[in-house]
Symmetry: C2
Subunit: 114 residues, 2 copies
DNA sequence: TCTACATTTCGCCATTTAACGAAATGAAAA
DNA sequence: TTTTCATTTCGTTAAATGGCGAAATGTAGA
């Protein structure tokens, strides 16, 4: 039960839901997510750690950046059944739509230097 | 998105998950749930209000008692897709199993007078 | 009407959570 | 090696959360 609670807790925050819906578009690094959510990098990092610990996302270090992506082939059954549901939810949410447009416009190399 | 967050928040507490799994056995009143969870009635009432506001359970006042039951025909799509998943989860959790045995043993008329 | 009692509401307290900035970490580039 | 910079960790603060007991609510039965 502990793991299930951890998954639901991870899903019960608006900013973390926004992150998951952004990652449906493509993998992202911390500074890209920071730009879209307009939060402090340390805050975004904490959200991502929570999502990772719940098994909802994966992180892969590539050079200077860490790429975060949705955990599409999870061995945990909770996540493998919840992620497809989440993918079909909130398609018309204006906040989510704005986030996704921003994701498409964001360029990592331009963004992260400033 | 607000409603989805409310549903996930309602699901992200151990005692509320225990309540939902108990209600899979049969409808229950506050004092029966109080007996199984060993919490104060006011605390249980608060948990139930949260689950009701999320659309996960229904309440029906019958005389002195209020019967709570899982919302099996919900018009909200989140709940209608999540409840079947929850029903197939945690079948072997020892805590959940103990709760269900207690539910079967509890007698409302004997219990609530004390 | 008066009493009993299941439930809810209110006020309070301890813990958790989400946010921030500053400092630490670690890899790439100069 | 030294600097740069993406990311994480740490410490702090304000708000949310889960718990309790006491008081309020409302219905059933005497």
């Amino acid at each position: 039960m502990r793991h299930l609670i951890k998954v639901f807790k991870a899903l019960s925050d608006g900013n973390r839901l926004r992150i998951l819906k952004m990652l449906e578009v493509r993998p992202l690094c911390v500074c890209e997510i920071t730009e879209v959510l307009q939060l402090a990098p340390s805050t975004v990092s904490k959200h991502l750690a929570l999502l990772r610990d719940a098994g909802l996302i994966l992180d892969e270090k590539i050079g200077k950046w860490v790429n975060f992506s949705t955990n599409d082939a999870p061995n945990q059954s909770y996540v493998s059944q919840l992620l497809p549901l989440l993918q079909q939810w909130l398609p018309d949410d204006p906040q989510i739509q704005r986030d996704r447009e921003k994701v498409l416009a964001v360029d990592r190399d331009q963004l992260c230097k400033s």
